[in-house]
């Protein structure tokens, strides 16, 4: 593999773009706060208005961090899935991993009411949300993996992902039939996807899961590279296939599960970002692709969020709609332009 040195400029530019998007995201919002006040709030004595300080530190900053984790994490998860399934169309959303996480959340949110009382509030803590979502993603991934071992056809894997998606929505429909209006509303708002309204506690939990998933991904870098040749070649070069597969599924479940638990199901980022990055970084080396995808995914999500909050107005669009509006055409464009997508 080529050394990282070749892409130094790319990484510098990406980091710069990310920083710019980060400050842009903090600057724009329904309340207009001058940029100088923002700098003061973070690096100086604090903004001149107490309310600005509060908005920045307890609303905009956690939202920006959540956006970066969401974009970066989902993109890395998408990259891992594309290599693991050796399928350019794989991604957390397409393979039904987000649906799996959604099912976990649905059972928790809609089911908690049935138990009621103190137990319900305990069940709805951020940690239990992460655990059920992670578990849901893990189970769906294991199921998809098991089927993909029987059926080698790459298209069927995607259809199976779709089937899991509809299965999940069916179960959710049944559950919602038996739940009350308030729970239903809670679930529906979750399913729109939202980066805002994250408490610092949730951000820390998210950050923790993100780091854990990322660590597992980086540790699998060499195995991911060998998987590019296919299972048989990878094994002939000393890869322990079962262990690697489990590790990659675990990493994806943690990343996609935790992100989906807090930010809702977010489409297309995980699928599109690795392809966009491959247009610029002409390498297949995961030790370069993982950080590149991470930076670019974070950058793109910050931009999407900046658009979604409709600067200078009090409206906020669902983030899922924005990522789909941007992501779906990108995937179509890539397919048409390159005829065949690579991974």
């Amino acid at each position: 593999m080529n050394s990282t040195g070749t892409y130094k400029i790319h990484f510098v530019v990406l980091t710069f773009l990310l920083l710019a998007a980060f400050f842009l995201n903090l600057t724009l919002g329904s309340v207009a706060i001058p940029f100088s006040e923002i700098l003061k709030s973070f690096f100086g004595s604090g903004a001149s208005k107490e309310s600005w300080n509060y908005i920045l530190l307890n609303y905009r900053l956690p939202k920006a961090i959540t956006a970066m984790i969401t974009g970066g994490g989902l993109s890395v998860a998408g990259l891992l899935m594309q290599t693991l399934f050796r399928n350019p169309l794989a991604g957390p959303y397409v393979l039904g991993i987000s649906s799996g996480a959604g099912l976990g959340v649905a059972i928790l949110v809609l089911g908690a009411g049935a138990l009621g009382g103190v137990f319900a509030t305990f069940l709805l803590s951020p940690w239990s949300l992460v655990i059920v979502a992670g578990l849901g993603s893990f189970l769906v991934l294991v199921a998809v993996m098991a089927v993909s071992m029987k059926i080698k056809d790459t298209m069927s894997i995607l259809i199976i992902g779709l089937m899991f998606g509809s299965l999940t929505s069916a179960v959710v429909a049944v559950l919602s039939y038996f739940s009350n209006a308030q729970q239903l509303q809670q679930y529906i708002f979750w399913s729109f996807g939202s980066l805002g309204n994250q408490s610092w506690e949730r951000v820390w939990i998210l950050l923790f899961c993100f780091c854990a998933g990322l660590l597992l991904s980086v540790l699998s870098g060499k195995s991911l590279n060998s998987l590019l040749l296919g299972e048989n070649y990878a094994r002939s070069m000393g890869l322990r296939l079962k262990r690697t597969t489990l590790l990659l599924i675990l990493a994806t479940s943690i990343l996609a599960g935790a992100i989906t638990a807090f930010a809702g199901p977010i489409a297309f980022v995980g699928l599109a970002v690795p392809h966009l990055v491959r247009q610029v970084f002409r390498t297949a080396n995961h030790f370069i692709l993982i950080p590149a995808v991470l930076l670019f995914g974070s950058f793109l999500m910050l931009l999407c969020d900046t658009v979604a909050q409709l600067p200078f107005s009090s409206y906020t669009l669902p983030i899922n709609a924005i990522t789909s509006i941007i992501g779906a055409p990108v995937v179509i464009w890539l397919l048409v332009r390159k005829k065949k997508m690579f991974f």
Binding site: M1, N2, T83, R86, L219, G221, K222, N225, S226, L227, L228, L229, G230, N232, Y233, R235, S236, M237, G238, L239, R240, R278, R282, T283, A284, N285, F287, K340, F342, F343
Partner: protein, 265 residues
């Protein structure tokens, strides 16, 4: 077998096939042969006779149903994946799953059993890669992506990857399928060169029986009923090629060492 003290790979009474839920499906059994260091051995047989199954079993990609496989006198099962990857490299019929790899990246992947957890290349690794590219004439392709290559180039790159793995044994599964006559001859000459000049031990399956007879030291002939192992000349003398295919369609010509279509309608 007895006169050579240390064959690098020994196969004893091997049976290959698949483990099904309702018992074993044996594709071929009672296979006995050995590979001496620095020899070229060809595996021939009709389609569906079990050549690929044998290759997959030898390379530990599928479990055997019985018998022994010894590499350097040690049972195949007792090798860890990395240990085995340092002894034995493969060239398979399948193409690399990702066509996005550059030729250099692909060949460099062969160094994986020797590199650290990040796969960083040391000067020694780069030397092995350069050697592999030079001997397969793939240096000029270095910067190309796999999707830009022809079948012949791709096969040379696949062999270069196996060479950069730097193993004493190389096993190739039908290395000349889909190639034009020039590339078929090229691959055969390359294998011969690797054996003669670099003391590699090469085992390959093929349908080019006439080329294999001319160029290999030993041959394994799978007929379905039995598996023969000997030098090409001895196999011809004992008429073992006659049973390779149904004799009413094609016939082995002992004098020329090749098959011909029987001119009887």
């Amino acid at each position: 077998m007895k006169n050579n003290p240390s064959p690098i790979l020994t196969v004893e009474n091997l049976s290959v096939g698949y483990q099904k839920s309702n018992g074993k499906l044996i594709i071929a059994d009672q296979i006995d042969f050995h590979l001496d260091r620095g020899t070229l051995t060809a595996l021939v047989g009709a389609n569906g006779i079990g050549k690929s199954t044998l290759v997959r079993t030898l390379t530990a990609m599928q479990p055997r149903l019985g018998g022994n496989i010894l590499i350097c006198g040690k049972e195949l099962k007792s090798f860890s994946p990395v240990e085995l990857a340092r002894k034995l490299s493969v060239v398979l019929t399948e193409h690399p799953a990702s066509k996005n790899l550059s030729v250099f990246e692909l060949i460099a992947l062969g160094r994986q059993p020797h590199t650290n957890w990040m796969g960083n290349l040391t000067p020694a690794d780069r030397e092995a890669i350069d050697f592999a590219m030079e001997i397969t004439d793939t240096l000029v392709l270095k910067e190309k992506k796999c999707y830009e290559l022809s079948d012949g180039q791709l096969q040379r790159v696949a062999i270069a990857r196996a060479l950069s793995q730097d193993t004493p044994i190389i096993i190739l599964d039908e290395p000349t399928t889909h190639l034009d006559i020039y590339h078929r001859a090229y691959i055969f000459k390359l294998m011969r060169k690797l054996v003669n000049e670099y003391r590699k031990t090469i085992f390959f399956s093929t349908h080019e029986i006439d080329l294999a007879i001319q160029l290999s030291d030993k041959m394994v002939v799978m007929t379905g009923e039995e598996t023969y192992f000997d030098t090409p000349c001895a196999l011809i003398d004992n008429n073992h090629f006659n049973h390779l295919f149904p004799e009413d369609t094609i016939q082995f010509d002992k004098v020329n060492g090749r098959f011909g279509i029987r001119d009887r309608m």
